[in-house]
């Protein structure tokens, strides 16, 4: 029963959504049913967020109690979660500091703490990329040389001064890069990847609907 029930739910839900695709979603029963299912996904998803909150609190609180390595950071994690979450779910009718509107605690924490910290972390990538370009981007063989030359041309093409320099050379090189690199080789490869990924997703969905794929239940 513990296996059969989830497999049946997955089969029925998947089948309804697949069949509903071929019917008018506003006027037919199956179309309305498919929308009902999608509403349930949103509701269940809300509970999974709550589950995540409980889980992260339990794991980190256990580490704080044991005073394990880095417990102080875990304590900060717990404090940050609740300081952000609690004011954001309280009604703004009680105070303009509650809720998620402009001027609320949540908005302030996001704009003046979280966003700058995340942007800073991401910005440091520029330094690592420059360092890696110097240390690792080597023309060791033919494939690496092609990659290196293409990357250099695209990097030049993507900035105004590089484009101006390329325009000094004979032939319309920026246009050639756009036509043959980005809309040629790149487009063909990307299209292959997209089609391949879509086929993979379709076959995986079919395996789940038919109950062949059961790893989502923790079973092989």
């Amino acid at each position: 029963m513990r296996t059969a029930a989830p497999v049946f739910v997955a089969f029925a839900s998947g089948l309804i959504l697949v069949v509903a695709f071929f019917f008018n979603e506003e006027t037919t029963t199956i179309g309305k049913l498919s929308h009902q299912l999608l509403d349930w996904v949103i509701i269940v998803g809300g509970f999974t967020l709550l589950l995540g909150l409980v889980s992260i609190t339990r794991v980190n609180w256990a580490a704080v109690k044991r005073r394990s390595d880095g417990w102080i950071y875990k304590l900060f994690t717990i404090i940050a979660i609740f300081v952000t979450a609690i004011p954001s779910v309280l009604s703004p009718d009680w105070s303009p500091l509650f809720g998620r509107a402009r001027g609320s605690i949540f908005d302030w924490l996001f704009n003046y703490l979280q966003a700058p910290m995340m942007a800073t972390m991401f910005a440091t990538l520029a330094f690592y990329i420059a360092s890696a370009a110097y240390r690792a981007f080597r023309a060791r063989n033919a494939e690496a040389t092609i990659l290196l030359l293409t990357a250099t041309l695209v990097m030049l093409w993507r900035v105004p001064i590089g484009e101006a320099l390329l325009n000094l050379l004979p032939g319309n090189i920026p246009d050639l890069i756009n036509t043959y690199v980005m809309n040629g080789a790149n487009l063909a490869v990307q299209r292959g990847i997209i089609v391949g990924a879509a086929l993979g997703a379709a076959s995986m969905s079919l395996r789940i609907i038919l109950g062949i794929e059961r790893t989502y239940m923790g079973k092989g």
Binding site: S131, R138, N178
Partner: protein
């Protein structure tokens, strides 16, 4: 030379980032065909139509993505379009949507609830995108601040995608794929994608198949749109920094390879001796 102290590399990158702030160079920006077709599609929209401006990006990429959202909002407000903002990213995107649209609305004298609405975030992008095909209000009964949609005058005449003329997607991740495959393919709503430079190459495939009307790739894409709009701003200024840093990285690659080949030749010579 092959193993230079990385602090020198960091110092040079730091200088390449800081110098253009002090001495603006204002390199001329040319417009790519993808940005031009994006701009033309938005320009061709009927005045006062309703457009979804989607903020599917994380705060980490805000330097690259926000200029695209700003130019989008500016262009749409200039055309007196009604803007619905929403996001599939829980990580602060509703706040970013709020701050961008309110800032641009203040420039153009637009009013919340009448000219633009921020729906915020709802879990489960596939369900959200499909669900809005039937009823936006069933998925977002309230806006981001908790005001019921029925109390917002702009939403009176908007039920689902049938009233949406265009989707302006700003993203730094693959959620754009779902907008294309569910909303564009399923409901026929035309859309354009403004994407971080690292993600942009993938979306050339969708431009080629005409599933999206155009593509803005990274800060350069935003700068191109700013030029088309006749209002050079943050992205245009950012092009100076990006130009120098790209040149620096190319210089590092060249110097690194020269050092590698010289070092290899010396090692071979040493072994032969």
């Amino acid at each position: 030379m092959e193993q230079i102290d990385r602090r020198w590399v960091y110092l040079l990158v730091g200088l390449a980032v800081v110098i253009p702030f002090i001495i603006p160079m204002k390199f001329p920006v040319s417009v790519s065909p993808e940005a031009q077709s994006f701009y033309d599609a938005v320009e061709a929209l009927p005045d006062s139509c309703t457009v979804m401006l989607v903020f599917d990006y994380y705060p980490s990429t805000v330097a690259e993505t926000e200029p695209m959202a700003v130019v989008g909002a500016r262009h749409l407000f200039r055309k007196h379009c009604k803007i619905i903002t929403l996001t599939n990213i829980p990580y602060g995107a509703p706040s970013m949507a709020e701050s961008v649209t309110r800032r641009v609305a203040a420039e153009t004298g637009k009013e919340y609830g009448k000219d633009f609405v921020n729906l915020g975030y709802k879990y489960g992008y596939v369900s959200v995108l499909k669900g809005m095909g039937q009823s936006i209000e069933s998925i977002f009964p309230t806006d981001n601040s908790g005001t019921p949609l029925s109390e917002l005058p702009m939403m009176d005449s908007i039920t689902n995608y049938r009233q949406i003329s265009f989707i302006f997607e700003v993203a730094d991740n693959a959620t754009a794929d779902y907008w294309i495959s569910i909303v564009n393919a399923g409901y026929g709503v035309p859309m354009g994608v403004a994407m971080t430079a690292v993600m942009a190459p993938k979306y050339y495939a969708y431009v080629g198949s005409k599933q999206i009307v155009g593509l803005l790739g990274g800060m350069k894409g935003a700068a191109e749109y700013e030029i088309l709009l006749g209002q050079p701003d943050t992205a245009f200024r950012g092009m100076d920094i990006q130009s120098l840093v790209h040149f620096l990285i190319i210089a590092f690659v060249i110097v690194g390879n020269i050092a590698f080949f010289v070092g290899r030749a010396q090692r071979r010579k040493g072994r032969a001796a």
